[in-house]
């Protein structure tokens, strides 16, 4: 039965002989581990396509909505955080493997006649890979995405002659970017680049098959070997290795989501993705009218140079050990890239921006509500009112209490544990909280860590809200405290409590002398509240 089905399929489609032809193609005797990168790059592209499609299923492609949907993917969709991390790190690792593939081809001289077109196709594929990185960078629509892309569009505007047209094509109005740039980057990322890449990969693979894998000089004297099983096994092992690294990174290395794109956030210092950092550093060398040289002319010449390599180096094939020129050039390029990248990393200020995908509801409610949660815990109300469950007392998380305020206050005071623990003012606040809490506050009620609650209790006890606003509640005599931890470091905030004018000249805030534990708790709490 199975045999007949196979025969039928083979007769009508020729699929079996096509697969056999593919697998048993003869490759040079010298083929081996150094030639696995092409297969790995193809696999990397497939991983990017799969994870990209999955992300797109929960992604709304428009400014603001894009940010909210990425946050939704990261915080609510099952495995959403992992999926985004796979796509993010997959992009980086794809660039690594594409560059390794290119370096191998270069060092071995595999671009030589008759494989010039294969090489040019490869250079174009590298450019497409970088274009994917550049266009995808904007799509989360956070500050990093926004400011990074402002720089990208401004660089394109520098191109001699075509600059203004190019900038317009990217939807930039000269200084800022908005919905049009976003839409064009999105269309490029998901509608233009993928089919173009598939087409070029097909052409590239066809050319590799047409000319065969590049042989080493003495290969003609040795018998050829089939692609399957030896080379297929090596490719597969390399793919597994690459995927293991990707999975490890996706699980262990967090991909943050910053604050939503804010053109008025002047504190944000943009930095490009690591593989473009060398260009970023390179640009610092070109001052005034020369900036176009560093930003556009030299990179274009470098790309042209890459494309023209097979026409410049036209000598006979040599064994890799004798290709000193190529090895030297590749080493120089690596030193140039590495040095510039290291310098850029060294001059990057430490970012204190909060990862907004990790912000919990307790970080977004008022200090008063947090303190009320503290009163509830202090008076051990939870021994009768189990949150989320029915027990001796009703489950208070189901709905806000409809009892009158006086009844609630009396009820709280009748609890012997509350009697000594809470002041009248605190009982009143707890009664209001029970009757009017928000959904966010309910989550905080159940999940807020005790040290944060204690920090809020100290905040409330010292009446910080009479001068400072926090999460929308409080006076505006002093600066709002949201994002204080992103503006200042811990030692600044702790020092500021003891001696405000020393840290903010002209400050009228009175000094606060906290015990070491209290100082730690209130500083932790304030630093945890996002901008």
């Amino acid at each position: 039965m199975f045999r007949r089905l196979r025969d039928w399929l083979e007769d009508r489609t020729g699929i079996e002989s096509a697969v056999q032809c593919f697998l048993y193609e003869e490759i040079p005797a010298s083929s081996g581990w150094h030639q696995v990168f092409g297969s790995v790059a193809l696999f990397a592209f497939l991983v990017q396509a799969a994870t990209g499609i999955l992300l797109a299923l929960n992604y709304e492609p428009a400014p603001v909505a894009a940010y909210d949907s990425v946050r939704y993917i990261m915080t609510q969709v099952t495995a959403g955080r992992l999926m985004r991390a796979l796509h993010h790190w997959g992009a980086s690792l794809m660039i690594v493997v594409v560059v390794l593939h290119m370096l191998q081809t270069f060092v071995w001289g595999a671009y030589k006649k008759p494989r010039e077109a294969t090489w040019i196709g490869g250079v174009l594929l590298l450019l497409l890979t970088l274009a994917f990185g550049l266009s995808g960078y904007l799509l989360p629509w956070d500050n990093r995405a926004y400011w990074g892309t402002v720089v990208t569009t401004q660089i394109s505007a520098l191109a001699p002659g075509a600059g203004p047209l190019l900038a317009r094509l990217l939807g930039s109005d000269g200084t800022s970017i908005g919905a049009i740039t976003f839409t064009r980057f999105y269309v490029a990322h998901v509608q233009l680049l993928p089919p173009l890449t598939v087409l070029l990969i097909a052409l590239h693979v066809y050319l590799v098959r047409r000319h065969g894998v590049a042989p080493a000089p003495k290969d003609e004297n040795k018998p050829k070997k089939p692609f399957y099983p030896e080379q297929v096994a090596k490719d597969t092992i390399a793919i597994f290795g690459w995927f293991a690294v990707l999975m490890g990174m996706a699980i262990l290395a967090r991909v943050p989501l910053g604050h939503m794109a804010d053109p008025t956030d002047l504190s944000y210092v943009p930095r490009p993705e690591w593989y473009f950092l060398f260009l970023f550093q390179f640009l610092k060398w070109f001052e005034g009218p020369l900036e176009v040289v560093g930003a556009v002319i030299l990179p274009t010449l470098a790309i042209l140079g890459l494309i023209l390599i097979p026409f410049i180096d036209r000598g006979k094939m040599k064994t890799v050990r004798r290709r000193w020129g190529a090895i030297g050039l590749a080493t120089l390029a690596a030193i140039f890239w590495g040095g510039l990248t290291a310098r850029a990393v060294a001059t990057t200020p430490e970012s204190r921006e909060m990862d907004m995908s990790l912000v919990k509801p307790w970080q977004q409610i008022s200090a008063g509500n947090m303190a009320s949660i503290g009163y509830f815990r202090k008076a051990q109300c939870g021994s009768c009112h189990l949150l989320g469950k029915s027990a001796a007392g009703p489950d208070l998380t189901l709905a806000p209490s409809s009892r009158p305020a006086e009844w609630l206050e009396e009820h709280i005071k009748s609890n012997p544990k509350a009697a000594g623990a809470l002041t009248d003012e605190q009982v009143k606040m707890l009664a209001v909280f029970v009757a009017s809490r928000s959904t966010q506050a309910v989550d905080a009620w159940q999940n807020a860590p005790q040290n944060a609650v204690e920090g809020a209790l100290i905040y409330q006890a010292n009446d910080c809200g009479s001068c400072h606003e926090l999460n929308g509640v409080g006076d505006e005599l002093g600066p709002a405290l949201n994002g204080a931890g992103e503006r200042h470091d811990r030692s600044w905030i702790e020092g500021h409590f003891a001696d405000p004018p020393k840290y903010s000249p002209g400050s009228i805030m009175p000094p606060f002398q906290f015990k070491p534990d209290e100082l730690r708790l209130i500083t932790d709490y304030i630093m945890a509240i996002p901008r």
Partner: protein, 139 residues
């Protein structure tokens, strides 16, 4: 046939839209809030047309009061590649954290890679109030 498609396609993508923007001046600060010779970050509301969206948004300007009734307002982005720069009190200059361009208090370039002085917003002083327009003017 291909020209008939390509020409409008090129125009569709490359020709600037016909959006006639009137430059409304809006109140940004009282002159008394600005110290002479000291740059200050001032925020103001402006109407922004972003493709098919039109909305009010907060904008920022670096404002320097240069005399009793004279004020300049700089666009807060570096003229090199558009990063946000800041005022460095100690060096008495604007510094861009991206590629290290430096500008003097009058907006001129002190150190590259920027090649142009800081861009400005149109300003108008009326009844001791500073009004700022949103159309950025290249110096």
């Amino acid at each position: 046939m291909s020209m008939a498609l390509a020409a409008p396609a090129a125009a569709y993508l490359l020709v600037a839209n016909d959006s006639k923007r009137r430059d409304n001046l809006v109140e940004a600060a009282k002159l008394t809030q600005l110290k002479i010779g000291k740059p200050q970050e001032v925020s103001f509301e402006r109407t922004r047309v972003d493709g098919w969206r039109k909305f009010q948004e907060k904008a920022i300007a670096w404002v320097v009061r240069t005399g009793e009734n004279d004020v300049v307002a700089y666009s807060p982005q570096c003229t090199h590649l558009g990063c946000a720069y800041h005022w460095e009190e100690s060096g008495n200059q604007f510094v861009c954290p991206c590629h290290g361009s430096r500008f003097s208090i009058d907006g001129t370039v002190l150190e590259g890679p920027a090649s142009r002085p800081l861009d400005r917003y149109p300003v108008h002083v009326e009844n001791s109030k500073l009004l700022i327009g949103s159309e950025i003017q290249k110096a």
